[in-house]
Symmetry: C2
Subunit: 185 residues, 2 copies
């Protein structure tokens, strides 16, 4: 399935309406800077970014379902694989790799070679605890919730904090809705 | 020159690193929503958006100069035409039309068929005075300032306010630097 999803992701990326990545990076930078002004504690900034991402995820899923061409997902694992291979590719240009699935298939790590929102970012020392791209965790949580999976989602490794990779850990909390039955043919 | 700039704009857009437009729209929406929380008066929100855009313009000009392939500009008019035809196209996907140049060539209107940041936006009544895409005015001001032209830049027509078009009026205030002489060959 994975190879197939990669192709679908490439196609979804190719046909989506696109703008220059730099403009997103800088607009996102302005958003983080505003939150840094508004909230003192790094934890609060992380939380706000995650909440904003959650709202974005709840809306962006519509565009995804309408335009990605991704196949219907039957379970949590398929949904997360599709999110990583098609969703990340379609919206950020870069697919995420999935690794370290637990045996129960309820937890997984999304690994990104580069974090598209973080280009040229360096964090001043007092913001060492800031997960700059934490919006992405919220986007994943918000969009998975809209397709029936309540998850927790947090950076496990963060290159801006000196880690060697960018990794988001996704943990299933609850299956909210049974998936509707597959279409009759 | 205009036809040529359109081609250059198309090429600059084609080769730039791109991401999905929807993600920018939603991220920008989160930014505006945060400012709405932070500032009561619509005027202040407009001003903050413009300031943020100004900072973005001062940085995005580097990418523009490095990658747009646009020819060297010899005067204000050429710089604004290049901004409209190449810059808007490269960063927002949509070129702006220039119209109503004054005889002295110090004022012009940038007209956009669609305002890329405003997709699906409707303003609640109490924000009727909000120039939602006011960041763009700042971006134009910031980037023109980096190439030697201090300008004022404001929405003259705003489709979100019920106008039939999106138009930004650009007025030259001061030529800051004489342009350096053209390269010797």
């Amino acid at each position: 399935m994975s190879r197939n999803l990669t192709k679908i992701g490439d196609a979804a990326y190719a046909k989506s309406e696109k703008i220059n990545a730099e403009l997103l990076t800088l607009t996102y930078g302005a958003l983080v800077a505003q939150l840094v002004k508004d909230y003192e504690a790094t934890d609060e900034i992380n939380e706000q970014l995650e909440k904003m991402g959650y709202n974005i995820g709840q809306r962006i899923i519509d565009e995804f379902l309408a335009k990605s061409g991704a196949p219907r997902c039957g379970n949590f694992k398929e949904s997360v694989e599709t999110c990583a291979k098609v969703g990340f590719r379609m919206f950020l240009g870069v697919a995420a790799q999935t690794q370290d699935w637990t045996e129960a298939e309820t937890e997984v790590t999304l690994a990104m070679d580069s974090a598209p929102l973080c280009n040229f970012v360096e964090l001043p020392e007092q913001y060492a605890g800031l997960h700059y791209a934490n919006l992405l965790c919220g986007v994943v949580r918000g969009s998975l919730e809209m397709v029936g999976y309540k998850v927790e989602c947090a950076f496990a490794k963060d290159a801006l904090m000196g880690d060697e990779a960018n990794e988001i850990r996704v943990s299933l909390i609850e299956v909210i809705n049974e998936q509707p039955p597959a279409d009759d043919d």
